[in-house]
């Protein structure tokens, strides 16, 4: 036997097993393509040169690592499946007189063919599609496209090395598997009797309780703080619940159905219930994992796409003014800073469209009836009381309200205050009116009051504000803060000038040691843009990879079940079931197995929706309709792909079963 023989035999083997190998090779190619692309994007210097390119490249480097890890696990998994399927064939070769080392030689050639085809085609597609991905990223960053075809030789080399090692390991694994098994074992391979699964009632009940608890938490969450606290608890409960219910719950349910004789001994139910018991035992863990991963995928994709689509709103709310400053200093220092700003604006040929300056006093307070006092009781839920003058209020809103010394205007933020009077530091104010939320994001301690409740108390004038401040200092002692300044500007002039102004003022800030934080929309929005864009890109990219994995796993599961089913199918027909009846019964089982994870994932996402929506609100994405739309679209796309794959798989499956019938 010469080498040419093994080479030919290996080729024939692949051809003969193309039903199994074609999807595998396709997966290898796609995985390699995706790894090359993400790595070469990471190496691409023109992305680094773009606005926010650094953030994207950081995200891409993470993505490359994830793809690599995924490739190792996933290719190993599929290969082990293939080897299991081919045991009988190896056994036959073995019995026919091929030694294990000859089998090893055949395996080498097989792996070599697969490896070469996959790596070559993977890199070719990688290079071709790389440009497309580059353009997508450039679009996300709203940058110039640049020209030319980019090929990263380094990425090619790394891709080649990585996958050569993976294929070598896969070869070793297969060879060891074949080596340690006996010919008879190999021949019998897959035909070991399946035991009837045991009912684990406790696990099923625990699973139900976990899942319901998780769902209830998700629905009943009222505010952001609760959402943050409970989110991970809910996620863990739902994951546990899913696993328990898929494994123990499904079997408990099926066995319960079996016990109901009147139900069970009906033509339709009889075969499906016992068929499903058997399938669930083999597949439950895999299905639960697919369900969890699909849920995560859907959540990731719908949140990142909401960010992506809603990013203009997001940026508008994150940067309510072209330029803003938060100062925590004396009034004199603040006045000096504002003067500096004005003169620097003139230097940069920028003019003011709108200017807002607001002095306010933030107080961590507790409420007891109509008495508002400092937080002494550690149990009482604190809220943020922000005291400001009516002039500043008018300045922000453009209204013309007036107040007497003993009057207040209140604005509630995520809390409610039901009284007509406010007792604060010994003085009683009557509530003149209540107004809607008027404060823009990042302004007047708004960020803090998004977490805890907030109450804006608007008083008559600076005298009143200062009086309250003095009382506050007396009561809080050394813990007392100071009156703060929120300052915002909308400017006329192009973005580059605004960036220059921002940079110049940053220097002044350091020189003169003003105690202030400054934000510029023109200078800083890009990084947000690229963070959202990068996450979105990575989310979609990894989803594609994951989707492919899910599909392939299900495909293989169905194929292997097809081979097992063909025996059952035959027997049932011999016993007197018609072809149509058998087909109907099997069809309903495959459908259930296929769509169980998808439907469950959909339910999970639906229940998670209110909670995630609240969490998104915290990062200023308050557009519920947009998020709902994104979730629905993602689910729809996911389902469509799923259905297409189901149809393809079912076709192959029936071909397997039908062939058996003819023999």
């Amino acid at each position: 036997m010469n080498n040419g023989f093994y080479a030919r035999l290996a080729f024939d083997n692949l051809k003969k097993n193309r039903k199994i190998y074609l999807p595998y090779i396709l997966t290898c190619i796609i995985t390699i393509t995706m790894f090359y692309i993400i790595h070469s994007l990471y190496m691409n210097e023109s992305i680094l040169a773009m606005h926010g390119g650094a953030q994207i490249q950081y995200t891409l480097s993470l993505g490359a690592v994830i793809v690599a890890i995924f490739a190792i696990i996933f290719l190993f998994y599929t290969n082990s499946f293939i080897i299991k399927r081919r045991k009988k064939e190896f056994g036959l070769f073995n019995v026919l007189g091929m030694e294990k080392r000859h089998l090893g030689a055949v395996l080498i050639f097989e792996t070599l063919y697969i490896g070469i085809i996959s790596i070559v085609l993977g890199l070719v597609f990688g290079v071709l599609l790389d440009r497309l991905m580059y353009l997508i990223i450039a679009r996300i960053l709203r940058s110039d496209y640049g020209t030319g075809f980019y090929i990263s030789w380094k990425s090619m080399l790394i891709t080649f090395a990585l996958f050569a090692v993976i294929f070598a390991l896969i070869y070793l694994y297969s060879f060891i598997k074949v080596r340690i098994s006996q010919p008879i074992e190999l021949l019998k391979g897959e035909n070991i009797g399946e035991k009837e699964p045991k009912t684990r009632r406790v696990m099923a009940i625990v699973g139900t309780v976990c899942l319901l608890a998780g769902y209830i938490m998700a629905i009943c969450t009222k505010d952001v703080v609760m959402a943050i606290e409970l989110f991970f608890v809910a996620v863990i409960l739902v994951i546990l619940g899913t696993y328990f219910l898929f494994t123990a719950g499904s079997i408990a349910l099926l066995k319960w159905l079996k016990k109901r004789k009147k139900y069970y001994y009906k033509t339709n139910h009889f075969t499906s219930v016992s068929g499903m018991t058997y399938r669930m035992k083999q597949n439950s863990v895999g299905l639960a994992s697919i369900c969890i991963l699909a849920t995560m995928l859907l959540v990731t994709i719908s949140t990142t796409s909401s960010f992506m689509i809603g990013r203009d709103d997001l940026i508008a709310s994150r940067f309510p003014y072209d330029f803003s400053a938060q100062a925590n200093a004396t009034q004199d220092a603040n006045d000096a800073m504002i003067n500096d700003i004005h003169s620097l604006l003139d230097d940069n040929n920028l003019t003011i469209k709108q200017e807002v300056a607001c002095r306010y006093l933030p107080i961590a307070a507790t409420q007891n009836g109509n008495l508002i006092s400092m937080q002494k009781d550690p149990v009482a839920m604190p809220f943020l009381l922000v005291v400001m003058t009516v002039d500043n209020y008018n300045n922000i809103t453009g209204e013309k309200k007036t107040l007497a010394d003993t009057q207040m205007i209140l604005s509630e933020n995520k809390m409610s205050y039901e009284y007509d009077v406010v007792k604060l530091f010994g003085k009683e104010y009557s509530v003149k009116e209540k107004v809607n939320a008027f404060v823009k994001d990042g302004f007047l301690a708004n960020g803090t009051s998004r977490l805890v409740g907030g109450l804006y108390a608007i008083v008559a004038d600076d005298t009143e504000l200062n009086a309250i401040y003095e009382q506050y200092k007396l009561e809080y002692g050394e813990n007392a803060g100071s009156i703060q300044l929120s300052y915002g500007l909308n400017l006329k002039g192009d973005e580059q000038k605004q960036v220059d102004f921002f940079k110049a003022f940053k220097d002044i800030l350091q020189q003169k040691e003003y105690n202030a934080i400054i934000i510029s929309r023109a200078a800083q929005a890009d990084s947000y843009m690229s963070i959202y864009g990068g996450l979105f890109f990575l989310g979609v990219y990894l989803s594609v990879l994951f989707l492919m994995a899910t599909i392939l796993i299900i495909y293989y599961k169905q194929i292997s079940e097809g081979y097992e089913d063909k025996k059952r199918f035959d027997i049932m027909q011999k016993v007197g079931m018609s072809y149509a009846e058998v087909k109907k019964s099997i069809n309903s089982q495959i459908l259930t197995i296929f769509f169980l994870p998808l439907v469950t994932a959909g339910i999970h996402v639906a229940f998670a929706f209110p909670m995630i929506n609240k969490l998104l609100g915290m990062v200023a994405l308050t557009n519920t309709a947009l998020f709902a739309l994104c979730s629905l679209c993602c689910f729809a796309i996911f389902s469509i792909i799923y259905v297409v794959v189901y149809l393809l798989t079912a076709k192959v499956y029936y071909r397997i079963v039908k062939n058996a019938n003819k023999n």
Binding site: G193, E194, K195, E196, K261, K262, Y265, K266, T267, F270, S274, G275, T277, Y278, R568, D570, I571, M572, Q573, K574, V575, G576, M577, S578, Y579, E581
Partner: protein
């Protein structure tokens, strides 16, 4: 009264590429009386299995007809055939053909479930049969938990629970050891005594020697038949053995 009449049955297989024609059955005619126990013997390739497949309505003859209890198999439409099989015929196969996803009980009940019987009725039928076949203790077990002989008795139970007109057994002892073979043959004899008509295709002289009549097939033709008459099992065994020897050595003279 003849329950089964086979008239001038012929079956010709044409190989896939055309050309070669193989005569699997040639002009086979016989009839089986109600309550008879008939063994069909012959070497591999003699046409036994083809005959059985045609009797089971799994295959169609090229010539001739099969009439089961007044009905010609050829007249049954494709749609009805599955129902016809499960209501009129019971099958016992060499490799048991039990479903591993069903318990023993459910395997036995399968044909009844398929013909949409009430559970009470099923249960009433199951109990006496399982007692008679000695598998009453195994009902809740699964096929992989019981021995080959037990599996085959389960298969017999499944075959007779529909009260079929005819039981077709294809090498039922082929996968069994000698003790299980004996006990299975006892089972067949017992159900035959209760009036069940049985046709059994077999290689085994021992199995055939328990039947009431033995048909010999060679090269697709009915070659000979033996009636038990007053013979004991042992005597019949010797006669069958002699016939087989004749079949193997001098059979050609008959051509």
């Amino acid at each position: 009264m003849a329950i089964l009449e086979v008239n001038n049955l012929g079956k010709i297989y044409t190989s896939r590429l055309g050309g070669n024609q193989v005569m699997a059955l040639d002009n086979v005619t016989f009839s089986v009386e109600q309550g008879e126990y008939v063994a069909i013997m012959g070497e591999s390739g003699s046409g036994k299995t083809t005959l059985l497949n045609i009797l089971a309505a799994l295959d169609k003859p090229t010539r001739g007809s099969v009439n089961l209890d007044g009905r010609f198999l050829a007249s049954i439409s494709e749609k009805e055939i599955a129902a016809f099989r499960r209501e009129n015929l019971g099958f016992v196969f060499q490799e048991f053909n039990l479903l591993d996803t069903f318990s023993i009980k459910d395997n036995i009940l399968l044909p009844l479930v398929l013909s949409k019987q009430q559970y009470e009725e099923m249960h009433q039928r199951l109990t006496p049969i399982s007692v008679k076949l000695g598998i009453a203790d195994l009902l809740e077990k699964y096929p992989y938990e019981v021995s080959g002989g037990q599996k085959q008795r389960v298969a017999v139970a499944r075959a007779i629970i529909t009260r079929p007109k005819l039981i077709l057994a294809d090498e039922p002892t082929g996968a069994l050891d000698s003790r299980s073979t004996d006990s299975l043959l006892d089972v067949f004899e017992a159900i035959n005594k209760d009036g069940q008509t049985i046709i059994m295709v077999t290689h085994s002289t021992k199995a055939a020697s328990r039947a009431g009549r033995v048909l010999f097939i060679k090269d697709g033709r009915l070659f000979h038949q033996l009636y038990r008459g007053d013979c004991t099992n042992e005597e019949l065994y010797c006669k069958i053995s002699d016939t087989l020897t004749l079949l193997a050595t001098g059979g050609n003279k008959n051509e």
